[in-house]
């Protein structure tokens, strides 16, 4: 089997938002839509304070709450774990947005552009059909993965077949790969380090792992 997952090493992440910007530019998402973004969380009380940068986005869950509630079957899940949205089925009810504990989904209801009313040539060139009035989210760059697989490339290893956020990450915090392959980079990272998943007790089975420490030696 194949199960693609994202791994974010919180020890590396500096909150620079490079992945946020790279994702937006590569996917041409409209203003306000951030399929990948990095949160800036603070814990503690002065002077004992911690500040943590947390990349987030669609977790491509094992049991996606969004898929459960979607009335149209627009939200689906592939065998390799990637949760997809069929924009042609979606009616834009935003129920999935209300169901996602990770605040990963977005809907815009009018076509707005970075500088206001008119698109730049880059925005004009991005999509033939604007993705408005339906819900969108991180796709794990499924088009790149599929195109890469067709060429015999390995997602998570070959840049061309790997999500853009992973490839743009300047600290090396973002990694991607097949957790069902024990030899993959992500499998090794998870074996060698302590990790958690966000809102684990919700039972969604997220495909997004956060590293926070080395595994304690036995």
């Amino acid at each position: 089997m194949t199960r693609y997952v994202m791994v974010a090493d919180l020890r590396r992440c500096v909150g620079c938002q490079t992945c946020t910007a790279a994702c937006k530019e590569a996917n041409g998402t409209p203003p306000g839509v951030q399929w990948r973004r990095v949160l800036d969380l603070e814990a503690g009380e002065y002077p004992d304070v911690s500040r943590v940068f947390v990349p987030t986005g669609c977790q491509h869950c094992d049991e996606p709450p969004c898929m459960e509630v979607c009335p149209t079957t627009a939200t689906g899940k592939r065998d390799d774990g990637i949760v997809t949205i069929d924009y042609d089925l979606c009616i834009g009810c935003a129920y999935c947005i209300m169901a996602c504990p990770y605040e990963a989904r977005y809907k815009v209801d009018e076509r707005r552009f970075a500088f206001g009313a008119a698109p730049t040539p880059a925005e004009r060139a991005r999509t033939a059909q604007p993705i408005v009035d339906v819900v969108t989210k991180c796709t794990f760059c499924v088009d790149r993965i599929d195109a890469g697989l067709a060429k015999g490339l390995v997602p998570g290893k070959d840049p061309e077949a790997t999500p853009v956020c992973v490839q743009s990450c300047i600290s090396g915090a973002m990694r991607f790969g097949d957790i069902d392959d024990p030899q993959s980079g992500v499998s090794q990272l998870l074996a060698e380090n302590r990790w958690f998943r966000m809102h684990e007790s919700e039972g969604t089975g997220p495909g997004f792992y956060y590293l926070w420490d080395k595994e304690a030696p036995l």
């Binding site: 090493d9 590396r12 500096v14 946020t20 910007a21 937006k24 306000g32 500088f115 300047i170």
Partner: protein, 938 residues
């Protein structure tokens, strides 16, 4: 069309570089679909040579929006309203390039006819470029034109000196060829960082290296008043009171000298590589050999005082010794002969001077527990590995994996001298200066060659590096300033390199233009002022006042991207083809600013990913036009041939191969011809003539590198090979220079630089650094008790330079960062003042006020307010709608600024303020792009 990797028949990926901030240059590619740039991607082909694996930072991803910004000025424009001021509409109308260049060059030609210097001896032409020299990598062959022109006044800054690591630039380069400094992150194990914010402004190379280091187990202690992203990524955060870092560091020196066992220090390094053993006698001067004048040391082996370079000595570091005779060299050539004179080694002088700076003493000043100061210092010592070695490129070098790094506001302004001295001395005490794991300089700017600082190591006096201070002797001192910031007159250490004037106290030029100190003539205005990639109206202090001063400039030519607060005062606007639209080659790799430490060095091309928008033109074309119309084509082309800004076009390799790609001096050469020659010459130079690549090759591949040995990252081996010592810890030269400068100034009746003269000490002593800012409040009519907070500033990576402030993408992604565009303050303080998150607050100093939304946080000292970035725009599109606050609006640029300027001419972004809740301001209406700026006829 030339292209790069093709993934589909109509899509190509065009390699280029980004050098929008000093942390670069870095590599990237632009994805272009049917002639339209769609997005930026990393250059994965550079994974093995670029320390950040070919990945640019967040700012680079805004370059497509930058290119297609509908607010761009895309045609030359001229002013029709002769009155200038913030509230005057310039009445810009579009004109042709011909007309624009005619207007500008008519003035230039006229100046040439009357003489390049005016009656005061000041250049009639002035130019300002922004952010740390980075505009040079976007201005094509303009440096050749500037060189061909002659004297130009670069002293009107946009923040240089007060918003850069100024004192560290000057003292760092002086002491160890370290214009900028970083830890040897690939090997360091323990870093004590006073506010250096590498996770934000270190660039991609720093971010990657430090992330790797964290996983390796590095420990960094971040000492700063608020919890920056760097503090977040550190093992420990110590919230120090602003501007007290010098006390902390002097206490660290104290602990190493008075509490640690002497044997734990790197005594061989101190004896052989520093001036620690030089004997100091009466007056604080070195005791010198009467015959040869060389400083003496006490040889323990022979129990005698001998010149420092006597072979086979065991120099004493401490003790008091009586010499039969010696001479001292005082100021102005005063040589004094001494009989039976006592002296002690400079090291002993330092031990004495540091005696009272205990951690308990520092704790009260810094508001940091003494135990913390002690623990951090002992951690530094414990990790220093004194005596250990490592092998680098087959050479056995010392391993000292500890470093102390400084950030802005610590290494500029008052207190910076003490801090830079202390961090360098702390390195020498454990032998960690310029060796693997330790504190490294990255590049030079006052010495040459810029691209390899090791080659700039030349022997000077007294066994030290050769330095080129501006002279302070009676005969050669620059009595009359040669530039409007008087750098040669006031700042000996800044020297006289092409960079020196722009480094000099650039705020003084603006201040003096408005109001000069007593007995100092107000400088004349330059007749023509060029500005490129700079917005002093925003990026300098007391913005309102500076804007008003700028309005008095008689003729201003701005290379314009969009309308902004500075070119609002322009007479002519010239739209240059911007980042993704023009051609230039730049050096990459080796070692460079911030943390650009590569295992390779070479060059990278910037090329048009898309055709220039509108009438924007390549800077190389503009420069050639300026040269041609001014009758300067021959000297201009000669300057290109000589390598103004890049490689000389003619050269010879080590094994005798020669090449000559020189351009004919009597012709005007087009953009591609020029850069094709530069490409060939650069690659010939890198390979000794063996491998020459042309422009077409570079358009396909983007960059070319050859190996650069890691061993060349470190200066100490070169110092050792040349038998040179670091001019530390004792600053006899500075002591002498200060006395001479004082004499020169007093001879001219100038006493307003006297406070600055007190900084010229042989061993720094603590003075109440924060009190400077308290006194500034009183000097401007306020009461300190009414201004209880320290306001400082900080950055975020999307906004580490101002040139992308009009890019919506940057604002959008920054919204995820706490405090973006806000006034950040301690949550307890906010609660006490009744301020909720998102409330509008006013931050007021005695110089002005700024308003913004409050962001109460835990990660901030209760007495400190942090205003990130430089905003408060009123003209720049997009930025003007943000309504973000700015420290620049409230930091003074008036007489009191002189009192806040240190001896190197730098100041710091610190000001005492009061805070209160206010009503929200009226929102700024969204402004659509004006057709006129786009080139449509009115």
């Amino acid at each position: 069309m030339s292209g790069a990797t093709t993934t589909a028949s109509e899509t190509r990926q065009v390699p280029t570089y980004c050098y929008n901030c000093v942390a670069g240059p870095d590599l990237l590619k632009v994805s272009v679909h049917d002639g339209v740039a769609t997005h930026v991607v990393p250059d994965h082909g550079a994974t093995d040579v670029h320390p950040a694996h070919g990945r640019p930072c967040v700012k680079a991803y805004g370059l497509v929006q930058k290119t297609y910004n509908p607010h761009r000025v895309l045609t030359p424009m001229k002013r029709t309203n002769p009155r200038k001021g913030r509230d005057e509409d310039p009445g810009f109308v579009p004109i042709s390039w011909d007309e624009a260049l005619d207007i500008v060059c008519a003035k230039l030609v006229d100046i040439r006819a009357r003489g390049l210097l005016d009656e005061e001896g000041l250049p009639r032409v002035a130019a300002t470029f922004g952010h740390g020299g980075t505009p040079a990598h976007y201005m094509g062959t303009l440096p050749a034109f500037l060189s061909a022109w002659g004297p130009i006044d670069y002293s009107f800054g946009s923040g240089q000196g007060v918003k850069c690591v100024h004192s560290e630039h000057l003292y760092g380069e002086f002491w160890h060829r370290a214009f900028t400094v970083c830890a040897d992150t690939v090997a360091t194990r323990y870093i004590v960082s006073f506010g250096s914010n590498v996770e934000v402004t270190g660039g991609v190379c720093a971010v990657r290296r430090h992330a790797d280091a964290r996983l390796r187990g590095i420990k960094r202690v971040q000492i700063e008043p608020h919890l920056s992203p760097t503090a977040a990524c550190s093992a420990e955060w110590v919230p120090i009171k602003p501007k007290t870092d010098a006390a902390f560091m002097l206490a660290m020196v104290h602990v190493l000298l008075h509490e640690a066992q002497r044997e734990r220090l790197d005594l061989p390094f101190l004896r052989d590589r520093t001036a620690s053993p030089y004997l100091v006698g009466p007056g604080g001067w070195y005791l010198r050999d009467p015959a040869c004048g060389k400083p003496l040391l006490w040889d323990e082996r022979t129990a005698a005082a001998v010149p420092f370079d006597t072979p086979g000595t065991v120099p004493a570091l401490e003790g008091r010794y009586t010499l039969a005779e010696a001479v001292t060299h005082g100021p102005d050539g005063e040589k004094t002969h001494h009989n039976r004179v006592e002296g002690q080694p400079a090291f002993g002088e330092m031990v004495d001077a540091m005696r009272s700076y205990t951690p308990e003493w520092a704790a009260a000043i810094c508001d940091v527990p003494a135990a913390t100061i002690r623990r951090v210092t002992l951690g530094y010592l414990d990790n220093a590995c004194v005596g250990e070695t490592t092998v680098v490129n087959g050479k056995t070098l010392p391993l000292r994996p500890v470093a102390v790094t400084l950030g802005k506001t610590v290494n500029n302004g008052w207190g910076a001298f003490e801090c830079v001295w202390a961090r360098t001395v702390l390195a020498t005490l454990v032998g960690a200066l310029e060796v693997p794991g330790g504190t490294l300089g990255t590049t030079v700017r006052l010495n040459k060659p810029h691209e390899n600082r090791l080659l700039s190591v030349k022997p000077g006096d007294d066994g030290f590096l050769a330095t080129r201070f501006n002279p302070t002797d009676r005969e050669h001192w620059a009595r009359r300033p040669t530039g409007r910031n008087a750098h040669k007159t006031l700042i000996p250490i800044v020297g006289n390199s092409p960079w020196s004037q722009a480094l000099g106290p650039t705020h003084l030029a603006w201040m003096f233009l408005r109001e000069a100190p007593p007995d100092w003539p107000k400088p004349t205005h330059p007749e023509i002022w060029f500005a490129f990639r700079t917005n002093p109206s925003i990026s300098f202090w007391e913005s309102a006042q500076l804007t008003a001063t700028m309005a008095t400039m008689p003729f201003v030519v701005c290379f314009a991207y969009t309308m902004d607060e500075t070119n609002h005062m322009a007479d002519v606007l010239l739209p240059d083809a911007t980042d993704l639209e023009s051609t230039q080659l730049t050096r990459v790799g080796g070692t460079k600013f911030v943390e650009q430490h590569w295992h390779h060095q070479g060059v990278a091309l910037r090329q048009p990913a898309v055709a220039p928008q509108g009438e924007a033109r390549d800077f190389t074309w503009i420069s050639a036009e300026l040269a041609r119309r001014c009758g300067l084509i021959e000297p201009y082309t000669a300057a290109i041939n000589r390598g103004a800004g890049f490689s000389a076009l003619k050269g010879e390799g080590a094994d005798g191969a020669t090449w000559d790609f020189s351009l004919r001096p009597d012709q005007v050469h087009d953009v591609d011809t020029v850069w094709d020659a530069v490409c060939k010459a650069s690659t010939a130079e890198l390979t000794g003539g063996r491998d020459v690549k042309d422009l077409a090759w570079f358009k396909e591949h983007g960059w070319f590198v050859v190996p650069f040995e890691r061993a060349d990252w470190y200066l100490t081996p070169t110092m050792q090979a040349k038998g040179l010592r670091y001019e530390l810890p004792y600053q006899e030269r500075l002591l002498r220079t200060g006395i001479e400068l004082g004499r020169r100034l007093h001879e001219e009746g100038i006493h307003w630089w006297d406070t600055q003269l007190t900084e010229y000490q042989a061993i720094p002593q603590w003075h109440d650094v924060p009190a400077h800012w308290d006194r500034a409040v009183e000097a401007t009519g306020g009461k300190v008790a009414d201004y209880p907070f320290w306001a400082i500033t900080t950055k975020s990576m999307p906004y580490t330079t101002g040139n992308n402030v009009g890019i919506p993408l940057m604002n959008e992604v920054s919204g995820n960062l706490r405090g973006h565009g806000a006034v950040t303050m301690n949550a307890g303080t906010a609660a006490r003042l009744g301020i909720q998150p998102g409330d509008w607050v006013e931050v007021r100093s005695t110089s002005g006020a700024t308003v913004g939304r409050a962001a109460p946080i835990q990660g901030c000292r209760p007495d400190t307010i942090v205003i990130p970035g430089q905003y408060a725009h009123w003209k720049t599109p997009v930025a003007r709608e943000l309504q973000f606050p700015s420290l620049n609006a409230i930091a003074p640029l008036r007489a009191v600024s002189l009192a806040l300027t240190d001896a190197t001419g730098s100041g710091a972004d610190v000001v005492r303020v009061q805070v209160r809740k206010v009503d929200p301001p009226a929102p700024v209406p969204h402004a659509a792009a004006t057709a006129v700026a786009q080139g449509a006829t009115a």
